[in-house]
Symmetry: C2
Subunit: 300 residues, 2 copies
């Protein structure tokens, strides 16, 4: 029985799965984030632990690892790790390419991602040939979770500037920042600004779900989502050929199925990203020239 | 002869002037920034040095100090300093109120400020009764120098995403970031992002003059200024009563006379902020019930 290992290494989660040629999952593991650009050498042992658990005493013949930004200069450490685990060194693909593959068996199309950050890529033969945004929260990531969280706080501050009592979104943001209701005063505004600056900027993304949840009831939340959707469309249009009818894969927590932000995107050929680790294993099986069905087509 | 001391204490410059009842400047000094919120106890001695130089052996009977954010808890140190210099403790006004007074003898009106940051206040009887924005570069300061600089870098990054060769603004931003021309490649984009993150965020404002200078020749620069002007108008509209015809004072380097950003503001009753230290001295003379002419009306 031919088996392949798929790895999805992210900033907050690492996943490993072992999949058979027929598409069955025979082993899996989940660990903390392990991007070597962020976590340095510790990433190697985090990934090793996940692989050891997923592979156990199985024998894998190929592997693919999805990882943003590559091995961070720890190529030697990784090589020794694969050798010691008896696993073939994985072919590397980017997180964006893997998100695309997880959503479609098509070789060509586009992927639009909105999670903590935001970016779009056009993909030809499963390789990202053009990428837009993904420039980080200071200079870009328009329409991302951090962007939504920042617009939500801005709405609160503007509401206080206007000496208005505010609606649902302003109240929710106050609760999100302070854990309790607060009066809509200038002191509250100053303290809100202080709290946002005291935390790492990416944690602004934790306010994004408040905007999604308030959109149906508060026109200000709906307006923020409208603007986020416009930004994301502009980002995708930067890389996607005009009148292309290839699939568009939506990825990232903000564009999950049923999300009111995803619902604002007018594309006719949308699919949602799926299980990235399984997609990596599927790619590895294809590397072995096996015609394993795409995870989207397998319901086990 | 009755004399008053005026102080304008900012984040990067401290100015002191001694003015006579007729409006003549009899002493002046300039020193580094001395905001106590930023510089702590060192602010007290910086201000003392400027006062000592401006006052010399003159005797002042009143003083006013414009300062953002107050004395930062160093009230006792300041009190001892004034006593040791033989200067009456100054009445404190905010930097925004002083900017308003520097531009007009009117007691009521609005002030719109765009420098490194951006904010607007409505002023009644020379006291700011409502303020909008001024929320800092992370959450606000829309239309400010940092905002313009960030939009300029965004334009560069988008140009590279589009695989376009770019126009005047993109070329100028590259030169501004690297000190020399660079190819429009993804490597350059990554390095540009890295350089922006390596410097304190407020230094993004150093790119703002490039946008002002390119606006006549590059439609992208003009578009950035249009959006900045729209943001500033929205900020002012938050605090200024509708159909008010009181004066609007424009303050901050980006709204200086002849600025293409100021030219985009459609207000009929604009005046520009003037010498803030002289305005402070003028307020101090008025505190003594002297009818000194407003600095705008004196040409010495």
């Amino acid at each position: 029985m031919t088996l392949a290992l798929g790895l999805d290494v992210g900033g907050s989660t690492t996943r490993a799965v072992v999949v058979s040629a027929s598409g069955s999952v025979l082993g899996s593991a989940r660990g903390p984030g392990a991007n070597p650009v962020v976590y340095g050498e510790a990433a190697v042992s985090t990934i090793a632990a996940a692989v050891r658990q997923a592979v156990a005493d199985l024998r894998v013949e190929a592997s693919v690892m999805g990882i943003a930004g590559g091995l961070g200069g720890f190529d030697g450490d990784f090589a020794r790790m694969w050798a010691s685990l008896g696993v073939p060194p994985p072919r590397l693909v980017s997180d964006v390419e893997l998100a695309f593959v997880s959503g479609t068996a098509s070789r060509t199309g586009s992927v639009l991602l909105a999670g903590t950050g935001a970016a779009a890529s056009h993909v030809v033969d499963r390789v990202a040939v053009a990428t837009a945004d993904g420039h980080g929260w200071l200079l870009g990531d328009l329409g991302s979770g951090v962007w939504l969280g920042r617009e939500a706080v801005r709405h609160l501050l503007t509401t206080i500037d206007q000496a208005s009592s505010g609606g649902l979104l302003a109240a929710r943001v106050l609760e999100g920042l302070f854990g309790e209701p607060r009066p809509m005063t200038r002191e509250t505004a100053s303290e809100a600004i202080h709290r946002v600056h005291a935390a790492p900027v990416p944690t602004l993304a934790s306010l994004a779900p408040l905007v999604l949840a308030a959109a149906e009831h508060d026109p200000h939340a709906a307006d923020i989502l409208d603007r986020a959707a416009a930004h994301l469309q502009e980002t995708l249009a930067t890389v996607r050929p005009k009148d292309d009818d290839s699939p568009i894969v939506l990825a990232g927590g903000l564009l999950a199925q049923g999300s009111p932000l995803a619902a604002r995107l007018p594309y006719p050929t949308i699919t949602h990203a799926g299980d990235a680790a399984r997609a990596a294993a599927w790619l590895a099986l294809h590397d072995l020239s096996l015609d394993t069905p795409h995870p989207r087509e397998v319901r086990t």
